[in-house]
Amino acid sequence: MALRLVTKNLSSRISPKLCSASLLHSHATSFGFKEVREEEKSQMVGKVFSNVASNYDLMNDFMSGGLHRLWKDRLVSKLSPFPGMKHLDVAGGTGDVAFRILESVNSIKRRALQDPLNDDLQEETRIYVCDINPNMLDVGKNRALEKGLGEDKSLVWVQGDAEALSFEDNSMDGYTIAFGIRNVTHIEKVLSEAYRVLKRGGRFLCLELSHVDIPVFKELYDFYSFSVIPRLGEIVAGDRESYQYLVESIRRFPPQEKFASMIADAGFQKVEYENLVGGVVAIHSGLKI
């Protein structure tokens, strides 16, 4: 796996990026390669995810060859959860990331049992799973029941919009968004909401399908995206359109550097990103001080 990590002080080049971003989001926005009106995008995305919810995990495994599990593990290990943490996982309807965080907190708890000060902290751990789509949340709740976590007070399922979160300012230790930010209408709004709800020292982490730059690998990846994935979607999930949207929306998402500068513009410090599998996915992170 080719790992590349770039840390940049991004504060110096704010203005040009801002202009282009605001132009892009004046009235029309993109839905895959199509230009659609802003109001329509959220509905169309909602439709896509309602369509794919039932087969979501199966298709993820098919498309990524199981790699998405490793990517999510990596995301959680970068987050380094701790007992007593208040965490918000946005667009995490199926609970994939939330379950991993909970698991990690529990294992830390076992290690830290010698510390008497930490004993009651585990009870205070809250992982809020926020998704705009109730169908996706239902999938997550069912999986929680299957895992025997149905009664766990640590998991809180919330239906909500990432652009207008219903949580208080400075209330979260961590914020993750995995494969979600690509689908929102206004990325800047999501970022500023993330900044708002985080405490000082809180971290923003974003796992997202991103851009491949390695020459030959890029061609292979494009072929795979545009020829294999829609067909796979048709065969496995019986839904070509949704997966066509998926691969197109990846191409419309800002490249790593650009997205990192957007995170910095939202006020985050120590903005870094790490490419996994040559940039097929990237983990961006930022720190609120």
């Binding site: 990590l5 002080n9 987050l79 405490k199 809180g202 720190l287």
Partner: protein, 299 residues
């Protein structure tokens, strides 16, 4: 000076070493120009550094010495680029974490406790790329800075011969980690981890260099390397000896250190004698060889 040279060398070697160095690079550059080395991101202008209870005597004295420092050292330059805000916060977290090391070890738990103490979300611990290592490295840098401050004060070292100076400086430095001695093996194993070894090696090199410099060493050439290697050996063996020393106030350790420093200075003499001997033997061999060759040619 040689120490700036070695810093440059260490710097260029380490630029490929990963994200940490990328972050640190600007700091180190300014540090080099001001003849200070600090590998952490601690701002030098931190208003009131929280003191370590166990070391409060040395710390408080060092800060007061700092103002009265005038022992022929280059004055500290102001940074051109102030470090980013988060770096100051990270340093505060690490400083607070040190107070929890005795209870929780050099661990993520100690860092979480430290973050809680200064009122920052413990999530910040995740922003240290090599979590526990960051804590150990912060401590090493902090100690080095305190040692430099003490050297700058210059009072205790003036009328000592070099071997005594070396002894005293190594002892100062090791006394700083005495409060943490029960957890120090953990820190050592952390430093020896393949991911951390380059930084810890660099920090030790800087420490040894600083001590030699303070001892008034002006060596150049091969001697420079020999001296630093030997002192590195003395320092490390004493550090290890200290781990198992149960004598009151580490009396055995200081005796051990004294003997090792003497050994080292004896070794220096021995090496010099060996050099003279080698020269003499070489000269003798050379002349007899010349004679032999001369005889062969005559025939």
């Amino acid at each position: 000076m040689y120490r700036t040279v070695v810093n440059r060398i260490l710097l260029t070697k380490n630029t490929g070493g990963g994200r940490r160095c990328l972050l640190r690079f600007p700091d180190l550059r300014t540090a080099v120009t001001s003849s200070r080395f600090s590998t952490t991101t601690e701002p030098q202008t931190s208003p009131n550094r929280p003191l370590n209870p166990a070391d409060s005597s040395t710390s408080s004295s060092s800060t007061s010495f700092q103002t009265s420092s005038g022992a022929g050292d280059i004055p500290r330059q102001e940074r051109k680029n102030p470090p980013a805000e988060y770096q100051g916060e990270q340093a505060r977290v690490l400083q607070a974490s040190l107070r929890h090391v005795l209870r929780l070890g050099w661990s993520e738990e100690a860092m979480i406790a430290g973050a809680k103490e200064v009122g920052i979300s413990p999530s910040i611990v995740g922003s240290f790329p090599r979590k526990e290592a960051a804590l150990v490295e912060f401590f090493m840098d902090d100690c080095l800075q305190r040692l430099i401050d003490r050297i700058d004060s210059g009072e205790e070292l003036q009328d000592l011969i070099p071997s005594q100076r070396i002894y005293k400086l190594v002892r100062f430095r090791l006394e700083m980690q005495a409060p943490y001695i029960s957890k120090w093996p953990q820190a050592l194993s952390n430093q020896a981890h393949p991911l951390n070894v380059s930084t810890s090696f660099k920090q030790r090199a800087m420490l040894v260099d600083e001590i030699w410099h303070a001892a008034g060493d002006e060596a150049s050439g091969l001697d420079w390397y020999v001296k630093r290697t030997v002192l590195g050996g003395v320092y490390s063996t004493t550090e290890i000896y200290m781990l198992t020393d149960s004598s009151p106030e580490f009396r055995d350790t200081w005796l051990f250190l004294d003997n090792r420093v003497k050994d080292a200075f004896d070794l220096k003499k021995t090496i010099q004698e060996a050099t003279y001997l080698a020269e003499a033997v070489g000269a003798g061999m050379g002349s007899s060889l010349q004679g032999f060759v001369g005889k062969v040619i005559q025939r």
